[in-house]
C-alpha cells in the first residue's frame, strides 16, 4: 500500500462505532483504492491520552484520523452543538445526520477549519433511564439527580427541575446502583454495553419521536495529512465519507435501538412512552434550553436564531427518510 492511516477513538473494538461503522468504512476505502490506502485502528484510547484530547490529537497529527464526541471539548464547536438540542433532533439518527451534511459547507464549516471533517453525525437520541422512580410526567423528575449528557443537556436538566450531575459515561452504572444518580440520559445502545438496562428499571421516551437531545460525534482527519495525499486517493476518501457515511451511520444507529429496547423489556423493565399531554411540559423545558443556548450564542457573537432555523429546516427537509418502525 501507499499510505497507512491511523484511526484513534475511545470506545472498545466491540462497540457499534468501531465494528459497524469505522471498520466497514475503512474496508470500503481500502477496497476502492485497490489496497493503496490501509488503515490501522486503535480503539480504547490505546495511542495514549484521554477522550477530550482526541480533537487536539487529530489537529497535531498524533493520529491521522479520530472519532470523538464534540461535547468532550465544550465550547470548541459552538455551531455544531445546535444538533445536541432536544428541540432540534427528532429521534432519527439518519434524519439528523443528513441534516448535518446539508449544513457542513455552510454554518458549521467554521467549527472544523482546523481539520478535514469526514463525518459529523449523531446517535438516535437520549432516553431517560431511572432506577427507582418511574417517570410518567415532569413532576416525577423534580429534584432527581440525573447525569448530564452534554452542556446543553445540563441546561435541559435544570429547566426540567432536576439536578445535573456530571461524570464520564463509564462511571454511570456504579453511580446508578449506589444512588449517586437517580437516572441518566443516555442512548439505548450505550445503555446495553454499560449494563444500565440491568440497573435501571424504567426507561422513558417522549411522544412524537421527540428525544431528550442527542450527542454529536466527529470523524475527522488531520488536514496536512489529507492534503499530502495524491488527488485520486483524496477523492476516494471523500466519496466514502460525508453523506455516504452519514446514511450508513444513521442506518446502523437507528437499527440498534429497537434491539436494546426488546432486551430491556425481556428483563422485565418498564419502557414508558409518554403521551402528548405528558410530553408537553418536557417540550416546554426544551424551549427554555433553546432560549439559554441562544443567549450564549448571542454572547459569543454568533447568529443563533439563523443557525437554529437552518438546523430545524434541514431536519424537516429529511424527515421523510425516517425509517418506519
Amino acid at each position: 500500500q501507499e499510505v497507512t492511516l491511523t484511526v484513534h477513538h475511545f470506545l472498545s473494538a466491540k462497540a457499534v462505532n468501531h465494528a459497524e461503522m469505522i471498520e466497514p468504512w475503512a474496508e470500503r476505502i481500502t477496497e476502492a483504492s485497490d489496497g493503496r490506502i490501509a488503515f490501522e485502528i486503535f480503539p480504547s484510547m490505546s495511542m495514549g491520552g484521554a477522550p477530550p484530547e482526541l480533537f487536539q490529537q487529530v489537529r497535531d497529527g498524533v493520529a491521522d484520523i479520530i472519532w470523538t464526541v464534540l461535547g468532550y471539548t465544550p465550547g470548541v464547536f459552538p455551531h455544531a452543538e445546535v444538533f445536541n438540542l432536544p428541540s432540534v433532533h427528532t429521534g432519527s439518527a439518519l434524519v439528523t445526520n443528513l441534516a448535518i451534511q446539508d449544513l457542513m459547507d455552510g454554518p458549521l464549516a467554521a467549527d472544523f477549519e482546523d481539520v478535514h471533517p469526514l463525518l459529523v453525525h449523531v446517535h438516535a437520541g437520549q432516553a431517560l433511564h431511572t432506577t427507582d422512580v418511574a417517570v410518567r410526567s415532569i413532576a416525577d423528575v423534580q429534584g432527581l439527580k440525573l447525569r448530564v449528557p452534554s452542556r446543553s443537556g445540563t441546561w435541559m436538566i435544570e429547566a426540567m427541575g432536576a439536578e445535573p450531575v456530571g461524570m464520564p459515561v463509564p462511571e454511570v452504572p456504579q453511580a446508578l446502583s449506589q444512588g449517586v444518580l437517580d437516572g441518566a440520559f443516555i442512548p439505548f445502545e450505550v445503555a446495553l454495553p454499560l449494563r444500565v438496562i440491568d440497573i435501571a428499571k424504567h426507561h422513558t421516551e417522549l411522544a412524537g419521536g421527540h428525544r431528550f437531545g442527542t450527542t454529536t460525534f466527529l470523524l475527522a482527519m488531520n488536514k496536512d495529512r489529507y492534503e499530502s495525499l495524491p488527488e485520486d486517493l483524496r477523492a476516494i476518501i471523500d466519496a466514502h465519507s460525508g453523506e455516504a457515511l452519514a446514511r450508513e451511520a444513521g442506518r446502523v444507529w437507528d437499527a440498534v435501538e429497537p434491539r436494546v429496547i426488546a432486551m430491556a423489556e425481556a428483563r422485565g423493565n418498564e419502557v414508558i412512552y409518554l403521551d402528548d399531554a405528558a410530553s408537553a411540559p418536557f417540550l416546554d423545558a426544551f424551549a427554555e434550553t433553546e432560549a439559554r443556548w441562544l443567549e450564549e450564542m448571542a454572547a459569543k457573537g454568533i447568529d443563533g436564531e439563523a443557525l437554529l432555523a437552518a438546523a430545524k429546516a434541514a431536519v424537516a427537509r429529511h424527515d421523510h427518510e425516517r425509517p418506519t418502525p
Binding site: T4, K14, G48, Q178
Partner: protein, 461 residues
C-alpha cells in the same frame, strides 16, 4: 512477530534493564516510551515521530486531572495524618490490651494492627516501616524471639494492600476498567483470611516452641482503660471507611475525603485535649510525606501512559492476545506461569509500577484464553465471565505481588524491617518470615482453586 512487535519486545526488555541499572522506574518508562516511538517511526514510517511529540501538550494534564484517581492522594494523606497523629501506636496498644496476654499475643496484636493500619495506609512498605517502629521495641522488651517478631511484622506489612482501601486496587481497577467498589468488596474476604492465617501461624509456632514468646504481664487497669479509650475512635474511623466502601454507601473519592476529615478532626481534638495528636507541625509533616508518595505515584502513572502509547503502536499486546486466542496455549499453565512471574518481579519492584507495566499485557491474554469478552461462565476456560475474571485476577495478582515482598532471598519488606531493627541479621528475619510465606502460598492456591473467595462478596452485595 513482525518488525514492530519486535521493537515492542525489545522495548520491554530494555525497560527492565534500565530499571535494574537504578534508573527511576517512572523515568525508565518514559524513556522507553519515547525512544520506542522513535524506533517505531523508523520501522513503520506511517507512525510519525514529530506529531507524536505534540501529544505531550495535553498528556501530562490528562493523566493527573482525573476524578477517578483523585482517591489516591486523598487516601495517602489520610494514612500520613493517621501516622503522624500516632494512631498506628494507639491501634497496636489497643490490640495488645485485647490479645496481648495470650501466648504470642503481642505478635498477634502487631499483625492485627498491621492489617488495620495497612488498610488505611495502603502501602506494604509504609505499613511495615511504621508498625515496625511502633511494635518492635515492645516485642523486644517482652523478650519475643527476633525471628518471630520481625517475621510477623514483615509479613504483616503485606496485609495492607489487599484490605480496602488500597491504592494498588484503585490503580488496577482503572487499568482494567473494573469497578473500584467491586474490587474492594472482593478483597475483603481474602484479606480477612490472611489475617486469620497469620495469627494461626503465630499461635502454632509458640505452641511448638514456647521459648519463642513469653506471656506478657497484664497492663495495669489505668493503662488498659487508656488504651481501649484510644482504640475505639481509631477503629470507628477505620472500620467506618472500610464498611462504607464495602457496602457501597460511599463512592471512593468521597469515602477518602470523609476519611481525611475524620482523622483530621480526631487528631486535632486529641492535640487540644492531650497535647499529642495533630498540630500545625504534624499536619505539615503529613502533607510533605503525602507530596513524596503522591508525586511518586503521579510520575509512575504518567510513565505508564507514555509506555502504553508505545506498546499499542508496536502491536505487541494485540500480537500476544491473538496468540492466546489461537488456542496454542493451555490456560491454566499460562495462569500459573503468570503468577510465578509476578512473584519473581515482586521481589524487587514495587507493586504499583508492576501492575502498571505488566497487567495491560497480561490481562488481555488471560481474557482471550478465557474465551473473550462475551464468554459465559459455562464455556470459559477459567469457569467465569469476563467481569469476574477481572476481579479474580486482580486479587490474585495483588496477593502474589505482595508475596514477592517477603520471598527469600530478596524482599523489600524484609529490608525495611531490618532497617528498623538494629542488630538483627537478615537471615534471622527471612527464617522468621518463612512460615508466613508458606501460608501465603497456601492462600494463593486457595484463591486459584476457589475463586468464590474473591467473587462471593461482590456478587451478593
Amino acid at each position: 512477530m513482525d518488525e514492530r512487535a519486535l521493537v515492542g519486545a525489545a522495548g520491554f526488555l530494555l525497560l527492565f534493564v534500565l530499571i535494574a541499572l537504578r534508573i527511576p522506574v517512572a523515568l525508565a518508562m518514559v524513556l522507553v516510551g519515547i525512544g520506542g516511538n522513535y524506533a517505531l517511526s523508523i520501522v513503520a514510517p506511517f507512525l510519525r515521530f514529530e506529531p507524536y511529540l505534540a501529544q505531550f501538550k495535553t498528556l501530562t494534564w490528562s493523566v493527573v486531572s482525573n476524578y477517578a484517581l483523585s482517591v489516591v492522594p486523598l487516601f495517602i494523606l489520610m494514612g500520613y495524618l493517621a501516622s503522624h497523629a500516632n494512631l498506628s501506636r494507639d491501634l497496636f496498644q489497643g490490640m495488645n490490651v485485647l490479645v496481648g496476654r495470650l501466648r504470642g499475643g503481642v505478635a498477634m496484636a502487631a499483625v492485627m494492627a498491621c492489617a488495620g493500619f495497612g488498610a488505611v495506609c495502603g502501602s506494604s512498605l509504609a505499613t511495615a516501616s511504621t508498625m515496625g517502629r511502633v511494635a518492635l521495641p515492645e516485642l523486644r522488651r517482652l523478650n519475643y524471639a527476633d525471628g518471630l517478631a520481625t517475621g510477623a511484622l514483615a509479613a504483616g506489612g503485606t496485609l495492607g494492600i489487599l484490605i480496602p482501601p488500597s491504592v494498588a486496587l484503585v490503580v488496577y481497577a482503572i487499568v482494567v476498567e473494573a469497578s473500584v467498589v467491586e474490587m474492594f468488596q472482593a478483597a475483603i474476604l481474602p484479606g480477612v483470611i490472611a489475617v486469620a492465617l497469620f495469627v494461626a501461624v503465630i499461635a502454632l509456632r509458640v505452641r511448638l516452641n514456647p521459648a519463642l514468646a513469653q506471656p506478657a504481664p497484664p497492663p495495669d487497669a489505668a493503662a488498659r482503660r487508656r488504651a481501649l479509650r484510644r482504640l475505639v475512635p481509631v477503629l470507628a474511623i477505620f472500620s467506618g471507611i472500610i464498611l462504607g466502601l464495602g457496602l457501597g454507601l460511599f463512592t471512593p473519592t468521597p469515602a477518602a475525603a470523609v476519611g481525611v476529615f475524620a482523622v483530621l478532626v480526631y487528631g486535632v481534638i486529641l492535640k487540644v485535649r492531650t497535647g499529642e495528636g495533630l498540630g500545625v507541625r504534624e499536619i505539615g509533616d503529613a502533607i510533605r510525606d503525602t507530596a513524596v508518595t503522591a508525586g511518586m505515584i503521579g510520575f509512575i502513572l504518567f510513565g505508564a501512559e507514555v509506555l502504553k502509547g508505545f506498546f499499542a503502536r508496536s502491536g505487541l499486546p494485540a500480537t500476544l492476545a491473538d496468540w492466546a486466542a489461537s488456542g496454542a496455549a493451555e490456560p491454566w499453565t499460562v495462569l500459573v506461569l503468570v503468577l510465578v512471574g509476578l512473584i519473581v518481579l515482586g521481589c524487587f519492584m514495587d507493586s504499583l509500577s508492576m501492575i502498571l507495566v505488566v497487567v495491560p499485557f497480561l490481562f488481555p491474554v488471560l481474557l482471550e484464553l478465557n474465551g473473550g469478552d462475551w464468554v459465559t461462565a459455562a464455556d470459559a476456560a477459567y469457569g467465569m465471565g469476563a467481569e469476574d475474571l477481572k476481579i479474580w485476577f486482580g486479587i490474585l495478582a495483588l496477593v502474589v505481588v505482595e508475596l514477592g515482598l517477603i520471598t527469600p532471598p530478596v524482599g523489600l519488606n524484609v529490608f525495611i524491617i531490618r532497617a528498623v531493627s538494629p542488630g538483627v541479621r537478615m537471615g534471622t528475619i527471612f527464617r522468621g518470615v518463612l512460615p508466613f510465606f508458606g501460608v501465603e502460598l497456601g492462600r494463593v492456591v486457595l484463591l486459584v482453586l476457589l475463586p468464590g473467595l474473591a467473587l462471593w462478596l461482590p456478587h451478593s452485595l
